[in-house]
């Protein structure tokens, strides 16, 4: 080994040891020197209580964040992707987090009464531990579980009524008897009357209903769109639920199922993780204009300037590349 190589190796060793020490320190003290730049959705404070009403008038004043969706392509059954995006609006009121999600869907699929029918649904996913710095993508992992709020159109609609059989049968039993509803009798969560279920997952195949069902919600289909509101108190009922608080940033992801497109289980449209930023900033739910929200949007002018600047630079860079590409082609031609 030459002297220069030996010096290089020695210095690399010193750098590696120092980096290891810093890495261990940041690991032990959970220090993150970088910050995430994913989409941040502000959770506004609202004086007016929206309940779980998707048509609450105050939603008009709450900015709507577009979240792109793609087909679920990691775990079988693969597929989905029929819903390209959804819109998210969030407020908090009186210590409750309220999330409204809406997406285009021309068909209202709220029955699974036959095997070939599938219901529309939406899910909102949080890391069970909101401090987890490495997002637990997909269905979480063994040491980083996720809490999923799952709304289903068929659960909200309830089981279809059985046809009235009249008096034509001797010794006919009451249709409401649990004898006729074995899923309900055995406690199958899919037979629940609740529109929303709170679930926990620690990887694929581990999705389980929570013992404490504290998420409520309601969906409404109007024309060509679903709008669903989900709501839960900030205070976590157990350690398996994320605790929310003002000033907190928390990862969140979404999934949508379109029943008409035969989407169910893993066949769905999923988002990347975005962030909910729970803010003290208030939004006036009584306001009749979106201007109230826009006045709260931070740094409007800076945004316009920077977006304009970046667009200009992109064009300039492409132009430079194009011109020099022309020169290179010309040089090759001239050489020939």
């Amino acid at each position: 080994m030459t002297g220069a190589n030996a010096t290089m190796s020695r210095r690399m060793l010193v750098v590696a040891v120092l980096a290891l020490a810093v890495g261990l320190l940041t690991q032990v003290f959970a220090l993150d020197l970088a910050y995430p730049q994913t989409l941040s959705v502000t959770v506004w404070s609202s004086a007016e209580d929206p309940g779980v009403d998707p048509d609450w008038s105050g939603w008009e004043a709450v900015p709507s964040a577009p979240v792109p969706l793609t087909a679920q392509q990691i775990a079988t059954p693969l597929g989905g992707g029929s819903t390209p995006s959804l819109a998210v609006q969030t407020v908090h009121t009186d210590g409750d987090l309220v999330v409204r999600v809406s997406w285009s869907d021309t068909t209202e699929d709220n029955s699974t009464a036959r095997t070939e029918l599938f219901a529309d649904a939406v899910a909102v996913q949080f890391p069970a531990d909101p401090r987890s710095s490495v997002p637990a993508i997909c269905m979480g992992q063994a040491d980083a579980a996720v809490n999923i709020w799952h709304w289903r159109a068929d659960s909200q609609a309830g089981a279809p009524a059985l046809p009235e059989l009249g008096d034509g049968y001797v010794d006919r039993y009451a249709d409401t008897s649990e004898t006729y509803y074995p899923a309900t009798a055995s406690g199958n969560p899919f037979a629940s009357d609740a529109a929303v279920q709170s679930l926990i997952a620690g990887s694929f195949g581990t999705l389980t209903p929570m013992d404490e069902q504290t998420v409520v919600g309601e969906g409404r289909h109007t024309g060509d769109e679903w709008a669903v509101v989900l709501r839960r108190a900030f205070a976590a009922p157990s350690t398996e639920h994320p605790q929310f608080e003002v000033g907190q940033d928390i990862d969140v992801a979404f999934a949508v199922w379109d029943g008409s497109s035969d989407e169910r289980n893993g066949v769905k449209s999923v988002s990347q993780f975005v962030r909910f930023s729970i803010s003290e900033a208030t939004i006036d739910g009584q306001s009749d204009s979106v201007a109230a929200a826009r006045s709260l949007a931070p740094n409007t002018t800076v945004g316009y300037i920077v977006v304009g600047l970046i667009s200009g630079v992109v064009l300039a860079l492409l132009l430079v590349a194009l011109i020099w590409f022309g020169f290179v082609i010309k040089a090759f031609v001239d050489n020939d």
Binding site: A19, V22, V328
Partner: protein, 313 residues
Amino acid sequence: MTGEWLEPVARVTVLVVLAEALLLRGATRVFIHIPGVDVTSGILGGVVDFARLAFRMAVPLTFVLLLMLVVSMWESSARLVAVLVGAFLAVAAGGRAEALRDTADLILLGLVALVAIVVVVGLEPRWRIPVATWSAAFLMAGLVRLLDQSAADGLRVVSLPWLGGLAETVALAAFVTTPLLLRRLPRRLDLIVGVGVAVFIALALSGAEAQSAAKILGLWNLGWAGGYPVLFYAVAIGALVMTVTALARYRRILAATSLVLMGAAGFGLFSSYQTALLVTGLVLIYTNSEPTETGVADAGRSESHRLTPSPEG
């Protein structure tokens, strides 16, 4: 002092960043989707812990390397880039401290744009094509995120649904043109490595499930939406690997390092760490380029500011 330690720090950084990208963003996110596999114990548990440690090491190393580059460029009179990168570091720190909570991403992407244009104009002519297209692809993908953010903040500046697809197209063009960074034709061994990687990727991703998993990991980790046939990505990555191999064999270690760091940065805004990887890559390319006779960067730039001589050239 800074110059002596720059290359050792760069070498360690690229190794740790590669470990982070391959293990944390790649392997561990595949492990957790294998039914019945416990990633909290045994060998896999060790791999997961090591991947997280690599991430914890990669972040400070990247910022330290960038800081060293600022000092080196300031001392060698490339002060415009030094000031821009110094501002980038300050804003990244402000974003981390939440002092610039709402504007940090806007300013950071603006600074990346300025660094990119100064670097591109200051590069020797043939290098401008891959670096300009790479920077443009990153900025376009970042712009998509900023526009989504503006809508989330109640501002619909403009909707450009095609911009993400265009960014991916330009990114592929950037990869394919990276051989222009070589001053000589690649040798046979470099070609074999590049073609081998391309063939391996094309074959490995020929199955529907592997392709699907790669698509979603590529999108979530690197901003690749996977809109083109697999062959396009195989050729693009093969060209990049061939260039990196050739640069390394010509002992242009910092230039090779720059491409690896830029590749690990991905396209678009993920975290200030990944954005810093791109800036580090751009600056390393700048400091390894021959000075131009004209251009913005020449204001205070001279031969002496190049941090390493180039045996190849």
